[in-house]
Assembly symmetry: C2
């Protein structure tokens, strides 16, 4: 029982990391498995994190000239078939609509009826249905570029699901752009990769490696895929966002052609890119600890929770009055282009229970306020980036003045901690023994490996070892583009530096 008093989450990360992840989600009331196989229910606390992510990303997309639109949920089966790699990639796991009504079943209950002439696929991604639409919109170079984003739900029939990380249905945004030239489309792909990187680092406080995917890891139908890769606390990599240069593959499959300035009929160049509710999984596994969720202030639904501590009705009205005034003062303060978001938790349950609930929910700053604090016109503050026991008194006036600064400190401390964590577990490795050893022996904390930076030719080689170690090439970092050397597996010179890791 002693352990339970020390940590709010059982088991601890080192004991059973996957189970710890589930328990953090449960304790923070973020989401739950739904009665529909593979689908999740995103609960209000989890959904408000997603709303905050959406708000920031949507603003970033619009600032860079993108607009939103909405395309159909369903894709005719024949559309998927137009791009050979694409259908190969998605046909094995998709929800297929075959009927359009239900009728009484003679054996009781209902049964599907009204068979469709052509089955419809619930979109696993929308390149083909959007491409079909674009083919009608694009006639001349004057119609380009098209810079459209869609916020939507998508379905991929995953057999092994995990909340936020891999679910049959998930929420995402998918950008689909069309350009007159290859150079413009490549530029867009890279600009979005940068945008995703900025969002991950500046808002999620999650350091990422931006890079190009290796040959076998590309999006089905893409010429080139870029991704942001983050290190989780079990040392595994999480692919947190992807940006695809589709070349002319989909413009040819969907007939997106146009009359260029020289009067020639040519095919357009397209891109697509997306991030999803998987980001919430990344957020959880980057910052959370054995007491539960830890939220970076810029994405936290609430920045400050005020917990009144009192006995009896006399104290109650005095303490609540003080807390309400404090709430108004703190809410008037500005943080990150908005106001500081404050909750006064006046529910009729024990103060200690409340404190732990807010710790588990990841609220950045907790204030406990009782009669003694009021007497000295101060508050008792706990920061979620400190130990739960590390609380200190601070004058009310000073807190109100400093609250935006403290939130900024928390945001920075979370990023710095995560960056150090990653750097400590990243190693440049150019020989196979060290590579094997790195991914085989458990470091402190009970997890093996991390990010290995090794030169890699990406044209065959290493398959058996990678399979044995359960390691995959994650990406070829764009910041190391000039760093060439001999392939760790084949010795081929001129190979690019590549990140290897176990991955989600």
């Amino acid at each position: 029982m002693a352990k339970k008093q020390q940590n709010a989450i059982t088991p601890m990360r080192v004991e059973d990391y996957p189970e710890w992840y589930q328990q953090v989600i449960k304790a923070a009331d973020l989401a739950e498995v739904s009665p529909v196989r593979g689908c999740m229910v995103i609960k209000p606390w989890g959904y408000s994190i997603w709303e905050n992510m959406q708000g920031v990303l949507d603003g970033m997309f619009k600032e860079t000239g993108h607009v939103n639109a909405y395309f159909p949920l369903f894709i005719p089966m024949s559309y998927l078939e137009r791009e050979a790699e694409h259908v190969e990639g998605f046909a094995k796991e998709c929800a297929v609509v075959t009927h359009h009504r239900l009728e009484p079943d003679p054996e009781g209950g209902l049964r599907p009826a009204g068979e469709l002439e052509e089955p419809l696929i619930v979109r696993p991604t929308s390149e083909t249905i959007i491409g079909e639409t674009y083919s009608k919109w694009v006639q001349s170079y004057r119609d380009l570029p098209i810079l459209i984003n869609q916020w939507a739900n998508v379905v991929r029939w995953e057999l092994r699901t995990r909340l936020f990380l891999r679910t049959a249905e998930f929420l995402w945004q998918e950008g689909h752009t069309v350009h007159a030239t290859e150079a413009e489309a490549v530029e867009e792909t890279e600009a979005i990769l940068d945008l995703y990187g900025r969002f991950a680092e500046e808002y999620m406080a999650m350091p990422v490696v931006k890079g190009e995917k290796t040959r076998d890891e590309r999006f089905p139908g893409a010429v080139n895929t870029y991704s942001i890769e983050a290190m989780m606390q079990d040392h595994k990599a999480l692919q947190a966002g992807t940006s695809h240069f589709l070349g002319q593959n989909f413009s040819k499959a969907c007939k997106i052609n146009f009359l260029n300035q020289e009067g020639q009929e040519v095919f357009a160049w397209t891109t697509s890119w997306g991030v999803s509710t998987r980001l919430i999984g990344g957020l959880i596994m980057t910052h959370s600890d054995d007491d539960g969720l830890v939220l970076p202030p810029r994405l936290a639904p609430r920045h400050v929770v005020i917990i009144p501590i009192f006995r009896g009705d006399d104290e109650r009205s005095e303490v609540l009055g003080y807390c309400e005034k404090l709430k108004a003062e703190v809410e008037a303060r500005e943080y990150d282009d908005g106001k500081v978001r404050v909750e006064l938790d006046d529910r009729d349950i024990r103060g200690g229970e409340k404190v732990w609930q807010h710790i588990k929910k990841g609220v950045p700053i907790r204030l406990e306020v009782g009669p003694r604090d009021i007497a000295s016109d101060s508050v008792f503050m706990g920061r979620r980036d400190f130990s739960p026991k590390d609380k200190s008194g601070v004058s009310r006036e000073e807190f109100v003045t400093r609250v935006p600064e403290i939130l900024g400190e928390i945001q920075k401390s979370l990023y710095d901690k995560a960056l150090k964590f990653r750097e400590d577990r990243t190693r440049t490795i150019d020989n196979l023994d060290e590579f094997r050893e790195f991914f085989s022996s458990e470091a402190e904390g009970g997890f093996a490996g991390g990010f290995a930076l090794s030169h890699f030719a990406d044209d065959g080689g290493g398959e058996a070892l990678l399979k044995e170690l359960k390691v995959t090439p994650r990406c070829i970092p764009v910041d190391e583009a000039g760093n060439l050397g001999e392939c760790i597996f084949t010795g081929k010179p001129g190979s690019r530096l590549t990140v290897f890791a176990k991955a989600y």
Copy 2:
């Protein structure tokens, strides 16, 4: 040809109203029919109107204590069957998922494979899947109320579709609340009806009648349904939002029960309510004219468009410089809790063509700025609520000062005009001859009828006449709750005043 020069939309409303509606949508670039039967593509201009609607409604929901969450897209067939009226209402038009992958068809192409044990329905509405989830969340009166909203797509397999008004897939919000007592649930139902009414009138500038639905028009499974009903320019009623008191029907079907304060196990009381992209159809048909879309400023993606008028490069740089400065000045002005939204349309096409494009898109204020205007430091202003020819010079300074006020005037003038339109076509009728005459003879403008206010017993009677006239009871206005009289069809005393109309 003279007619075409006078009006931007062909045909005019009086000539062919349904076709006029389609042409307004096309001319404003709001949406189009998709290649997937019954589904629409919402284009950027249309989607940004929806985003503005979402922003306002979401704020109103949150102000009244609601939070957002997300539930699965799919509903197991057996869930739908739990509530007899509910399944009856939705089974005939729904998309049924029966397989979870595609495999090569020996005859070529692909075919569905991996049959599901139980078919899944793409949600036509989410009472049953959300109810199933709530049944696990609700154990004690302390867990209540639950006040949750979801922004989502839904699918109802409509055979005859019209953009925004009736499509197989549409976007909406659906609120689902659970309460400990009947009184609280009724209060919620009514509060949301009020909220929808405020949104329609104050933001959409669309006057509505708030009322209770008659017996046959209730939501399948509801004890009572309330709606807001608006009059379109063809005198028909559009049901623009509904709020349902579900009694204990769904709590019994989904087993949402709890231990009340007296320690008894009882069933909860639930509500559900929604508005959809159909609102955009209502917006179009309330304000648009024979020159295209007219947007109320509070929901317009852009408030002001500046159209530079120049010849040659010399004039060009002078005019554009002036326009950019003007844009910055206008954008610094506040309107409706935000900034004034301005576009400087510097595309390389003729000024006259631009002007008509923005008229057709419904932008509230157009400014034309050429060298002569600059010489007098003024702008040439057109308001979308005035005739396209009715333009006037106004000093730059005065315009910048007055722009928020002018936007307010436009918002009000649109509402006032729509209200007068409805009032002129609303008649209290308590005899059948007049009722028949009202709905049979065309008034000026070429459309018959409008809203007839007649006492109605709502327990049988009038079916043949109503069917003949293609008229239905729309709602029993809450503002006329005490207005009782003899039923126009049966003479039954104590009947409530009811709105009758042709309807969408």
